[in-house]
């Protein structure tokens, strides 16, 4: 890749998804884009970038942007988060909503580990008498496809997932492990760019969006936060990553008009 190639990729990521990509990190860019270039039939990343530029083809551009977007790979990351959602947030929301269906949204679900962790926690101890809908979205189409399939490698199921949960929720395959249909079918999927208008999605009682904001440029972060805030039902919960929810980090959260609750992932003892 030439320096111009790297600048172009950084600029496309910023423009399409608000992603912060450092064009000086040549190895990282090359590493992420090489599989995409191969998949698309190009002999090198440079050829791929030139084609994306010259053809101005959205499909190629998005393939590059998706490859550069963050991908979380662990189940039950910061496990206290899930205890708090199931044990505290949902019972409280259920009381407030008086029997209405609760809508939960994992806004950047990656390859599914985050939202399936939530679904497994719900399957194990959902608040009684409460109907819950779980939505999941990601910027990356390929990761969404993997997530929907619910099949994970031996390496993936050993990151954050207990052996008890492995035997409870998965079936063994010749080469990997498949999540049970019971859990998979709890989740509905959609490709969503958090930078775009989200009003078509309706409102959610709880939005889980962890370790995303830190990868965004300042303007994009403010916009995504405003979008997520708009998607939150009154008294809803916005669950962010540990470092993302520090008081004062994002002034928009503290302003009087914010009608939800910000939860940090490790805020519980």
């Amino acid at each position: 890749m030439t320096p111009q190639d790297r600048e172009l990729i950084a600029s496309l990521c910023a423009g399409r998804a608000g992603l912060r990509v450092d064009p000086d990190k040549a190895y990282m860019l090359e590493n992420r884009l090489a599989p995409v270039a191969r998949r698309e039939g190009f002999g090198s990343v440079h050829e791929f970038v030139v084609a994306a530029r010259d053809r101005d083809e959205e499909r190629l551009i998005w393939a590059a942007v998706e490859a550069m977007s963050p991908a979380e790979t662990a189940f039950f990351r910061d496990p206290a988060t899930f205890d708090r959602i199931v044990g505290e947030a949902l019972p409280e929301l259920a009381r407030r909503r008086e029997g209405a269906t609760l809508r939960l949204w994992a806004a950047a679900c990656g390859a599914g580990q985050e939202v399936y962790s939530l679904a497994m926690a719900l399957e194990e101890r959902s608040p009684p008498g409460v109907t819950i809908e779980v939505f999941a979205s990601d910027l990356c189409e390929r990761r969404l496809e993997k997530a929907q399939a619910g099949v994970y490698s031996q390496f993936e199921v050993q990151r954050g997932l207990s052996a008890q949960r492995l035997v409870r929720h998965f079936e063994g395959l010749d080469d990997g492990f498949a999540l049970s249909p019971r859990v998979r079918q709890m989740v509905r999927w959609r490709r969503v760019n958090l930078m775009e208008d989200l009003t078509r999605l309706g409102q959610f009682d709880l939005v889980l969006c962890r370790n995303v904001l830190g990868y965004l440029l300042d303007d994009a972060r403010a916009r995504v936060l405003a979008n997520l805030q708009g998607a939150l039902a009154p008294n809803g919960w916005l669950v962010l990553g540990e470092t993302e929810a520090a008081p004062g980090l994002y002034p928009a959260m503290g302003r009087p008009g914010f009608h939800g609750r910000i939860a940090a992932t490790r805020a519980v003892a």
Binding site: Q164, F170, G172
Partner: protein, 128 residues
Amino acid sequence: MVKESASAKLCLVVDDSRVVRKVARRILEDLAFEVAEAGDGVEALAWVRTAVPDVILLDWNMPVMNGLDFLRRLRAEPGGDKPKVVFCSVENDLDRIREALTCGADEYIMKPFDGDIVASKLALVGLL
């Protein structure tokens, strides 16, 4: 040889492969554990009768006494309920994992493993 430290947690690595023990030792020491080693279940049982480790990383298929037999014997010993036991085996059949859990294992690692997996499992049993 166990390194002396007042606060470090102790892990007994039980595996008949010297290579696996060496890899596990390096990972565990990076995670600030003290490490002791045993080559089979009999050796491991003798070891835990002298000092109870915080956690045992336990292979399944070993000569003399396999991991499952060791685990049953361990849990029947006085104080044998105390150490966390994390199986570490090439056995990756879910029925085998279920069997290990039923016999008293706290966690299970499928080989091959790396530092992330060991750290993840030790966190799950409350030792990290």
